[in-house]
């Protein structure tokens, strides 16, 4: 296992994670149940119970720069099985929010996919699947890694070539706009 050099605890970080998630991270006693049931553990650089420990120790950088927080699929196994009823998946979500705000994105493609998805919702009110794919490919500069699906997919005629526009799409776009204004106001405080 990779060793992580510990810095002195960043108390603000601990407080912020607790406030934003509404969870008491200090009640974690490191039983490891969350990690034992985490289906993504094989792909993580830092296991979820270790993330919990690093949060307790106020290790902002090590946590926010981990790949794990981007790979977590919010499958809720950890939350369901934590003996201390900690909503671990919610903490992982909050850490991802904080990593985004700090400008970290150790899994660029995961972030690009999420961004492409939300841009589609903002534009059309509903998700336009082909549009998300095109925009994802553009953002990552990657060749579409799913071309091998085309022969199975195309004859099924499932993907609409036009977005489904809804009448209320302006309303949806405004939700995004107000969200960005709210965040900008927070930063200027």
């Amino acid at each position: 296992m990779e060793t992580i050099p510990l810095n002195s605890p960043d108390k603000d970080f601990i407080r912020e994670v607790q406030e934003r998630s509404g969870q008491n991270v200090q009640s974690c006693y490191q039983c490891g149940n969350c990690t034992a049931g985490c289906p993504y553990n094989f792909a993580y650089d830092v296991s979820v119970s270790r993330i919990m420990r690093l949060v307790q120790l106020g290790q902002r950088e090590a946590v926010l720069k981990s790949h794990s927080i981007w790979l977590c699929a919010t499958c809720q196994s950890c939350t369901t099985r934590c003996p201390n009823s900690i909503e671990v998946a919610k903490i992982m979500d909050v850490l991802r929010h904080m990593a985004r705000e700090a400008g970290y994105a150790t899994e660029r493609n995961v972030k690009a996919f999420g961004d492409a998805f939300l841009e589609s919702v903002e534009k059309h009110g509903r998700v336009y699947e082909l549009g998300v794919t095109a925009s994802y490919v553009k953002k990552t500069g990657r060749f579409w890694t799913d071309v091998d699906l085309a022969p199975a997919m195309l004859p099924k005629n499932k993907l609409s070539i036009k977005p489904h526009e809804i009448r209320g799409k302006e309303h949806v776009a405004e939700i995004f706009k107000r969200y960005r204004e709210r965040d900008a106001a927070k930063e200027n405080r």
Binding site: T74, H97, G125, H171
Partner: protein
């Protein structure tokens, strides 16, 4: 018996999971459930929204619950567990008087009256009931060995979903039994399939969906039964990718529970959208005398 509820199809219902939407509507009609689609519904934000911000996610979802209430619906059902999780989470946030104003600020509307939300699976099991299903079966699924796969969020976390057992859910197992199928004890019912990692991190899907297919195969599963568009897509559309990555050669059909239930209730292959599936289930269904 007549049941009438609002219906939230979710975005994949008009794309990658058209057959789930189609078979859900057909089955409900057959069982005497009237589904009224929420007029002008919008995307719930899915996973990407809650990974960016919880209030944004709640506002995108709440728009639909408020819309449904304005259209006279007290309860909404959705076939998609991911939509359900988002809509439910939004419900909780707007019931919380301290949190509600944050959602209302983004929505620019009151969330005072909003519909509640459940899955179509829950509606069918609880409101129609297994006895009524048994009585309505005209084409029993006998001689069919199925494994029911619920996916990770249909029942979890239990405080939020409030339905069935979070580690060993039985709703689909019981429906399939009521239809006459032999239900195998599938131990990975609530394990994750790789979810939305397919595009950005394919190796996660080939590993996790690979595990599911390995175990299903070891039980001699003839058909995997699902209730989630993402699970179904990873196991069916991506089954070839899984095979190529893991050196396996599986050819296991993966259908929505509403498709098999529909067939048992006497709906045609076309009415439940069977031709939309990638791994063709018709040879097994013919062999079992269902088609």
């Amino acid at each position: 018996m007549s049941i009438s509820v609002g219906y939230y199809p979710g975005c994949s219902g008009s794309g990658t999971s058209v057959e789930y939407d189609k078979s859900t509507r057909a089955v409900c009609k057959k069982l005497g459930i009237e589904l009224t689609e929420i007029d002008d519904w919008s995307c719930c934000g899915s996973t990407p929204a809650h990974t960016v911000d919880h209030t944004l996610s709640a506002a995108l979802s709440a728009r639909n619950l408020v819309l449904a209430a304005k259209q006279g619906q007290e309860e909404v059902v959705t076939p998609c567990p991911s939509c359900l999780a988002n809509l439910r989470t939004a419900s909780h946030k707007i019931e919380d008087e301290a949190y509600r104003p944050k959602v209302e600020a983004l929505l620019d509307d009151s969330c005072e009256s909003a519909a509640t939300v459940a899955s179509t699976l829950q509606l069918i099991v609880e409101k129609v009931g297994l006895d009524a299903i048994k009585k309505a079966v005209v084409k029993p699924l006998k001689d069919l060995n199925v494994a029911c796969y619920y996916g990770c969020i249909m029942n979890r976390p239990p405080e939020l979903m409030q339905f069935d057992d979070p580690e060993n859910p039985m709703a689909m197992d019981k429906i399939m039994e009521a239809c006459g199928a032999t239900v195998l004890p599938f131990p990975l019912k609530v394990e994750c399939c790789g979810a939305a990692a397919g595009m950005p991190k394919k190796e996660i899907v080939t590993e996790l969906s690979g595990r599911l297919l390995n175990v299903a195969d070891s039980l001699n599963t003839e058909i995997i039964v699902t209730a989630c568009p993402l699970c179904q897509m990873n196991l069916d559309l991506r089954q070839g990718q899984v095979n190529r990555a893991n050196g396996t050669g599986y050819d296991i059909p993966v259908v929505y529970f509403t498709q098999l239930l529909g067939l048992a209730l006497g709906l045609s292959a076309d009415e439940v959208g069977l031709s939309k599936l990638v791994v063709d289930p018709t040879p097994r269904l013919r062999f079992a005398g269902v088609l």
